[in-house]
Subunit: 208 residues, 2 copies
DNA sequence: TACCACTAATTAAACGTTTGTTTTAATCAA
DNA sequence: TTGATTAAAACAAACGTTTAATTAGTGGTA
């Protein structure tokens, strides 16, 4: 009985295929072939193709809430330190798991599975709340400009990195990065982190 | 002979459906029903579902090259003026045509139709070249900081607005905008424009 | 150890739908 | 009459899922 191996194999191959193509563009036969299992195994282990898809996203969507929370509530960090830590964290988190974030990306932009979309948003929203409070705190303690648009700062950070990760082929061409692999290299990560840190510092800090 | 009317009706309904759902999630029967035409009409007028999809995107993707070019090469505008004009132009362009940009968005993030993706990128790339030169010119004439990351500035602007337009349901929740309609209101557009103008001014200008 | 019963895992084949597309025939305008 | 337009029906192919049969593994009993 090799349940675990085969189930894991299906998830691994499904992640690759669903990252590259739409839900409906990937057939259960494609999945079974890629994972080297019988077609019936997908229904057997997951119930249906859709449940496999949901289980895949949910299982791969690592829990980032505790990290964000600990950054946001760390008394040893200044407001600007916290912001820098969030930039670092999100850049690495998204770049380390490009496949699942491509899937999430596409899921958020369609109405194909509204319940799943709602679930994803609710998970993301928790972090948004922490970071939102963190930025407002920076305003309150005099670190950040009063008239800064914190809502757009947040979505700017998420959107931009998610966009690069979600459309790597396009992003390479736009950023003159030769290969998709280089997009996920430490070197390019450093470039993104530096960009956002400087960008937000200039925009948010009073003495700039 | 009502060719034009029926063909136009198909395109109008297809735009709505393809904006909301994936290519494969929309069937030709859905399209025919929405447009109140016979199923055979799609093949008759467009050749195939895929050609309809391509024709739709290409026809709706208004030509923005001439506008960007005229901004970038206008001798009456300073470097910072040009940047502000580009922010205004892109915000309005994307907000005025959310449906097609949702489709483009999804198309750029998948490998379902590589030739179409390549075509879209080539069209977008022209603008990128103009804006890239414009920003480098700002460095050369001493307006912008030498060490600013112009590649990321460009993709940041495109990505963020495209992301908001492409995932309006999600963006509303993140930005505390009550309804999707309000996302495309003049008021919110103004907010986006102001944000990016201030953001890039602080980041790019030397005296900041 | 050997045998049995039982459960879980795996397969190939078939299921009924739905898919995009085409055919055929009828209808319409010029 | 000619050629474009419409409609209904039919097409084969692909879809996700299920069935039925077989194999593999487990635990208990003698």
């Amino acid at each position: 009985m090799e349940q675990i191996d085969k189930k894991a194999a299906i998830l691994i191959e499904a992640e690759k295929l669903f990252a590259e193509m739409d839900f409906d563009a990937v057939s259960v036969r494609d999945l079974a072939k890629a994972a080297n299992v019988n077609i019936a195994m997908i229904s057997y282990y997951f119930g249906s193709k859709e449940k496999l898809f949901e289980e895949l996203i949910i299982s791969r969507m690592a829990n980032s809430q505790t990290t964000i929370q600990s950054i946001a509530t760390d008394p040893a960090l200044s407001s600007i330190d916290k912001l820098m830590a969030v930039v670092d964290f999100y850049t690495d988190r998204l770049m380390n798991n490009p496949n699942v974030h491509r899937m999430i990306n596409r899921e958020l932009s369609s109405s194909n599975r509204p319940e799943l979309r709602e679930l994803l948003i609710s998970k993301i929203e928790t972090n948004k709340t922490y970071i939102g409070k963190m930025l407002e705190e920076g305003k309150a303690n005099g670190t950040f400009r009063e008239d800064a648009d914190m809502g757009l700062v947040m979505i700017n950070l998420f959107a931009c990195i998610q966009y690069i990760v979600g459309s790597p082929y396009y992003s390479c061409k736009m950023l003159d990065v030769p290969t998709e692999a280089q997009l996920f290299d430490p070197e390019f990560r450093k470039r993104i982190k530096t960009y956002f840190k400087e960008l937000f510092s200039h925009y948010l800090l009073k003495n700039q």
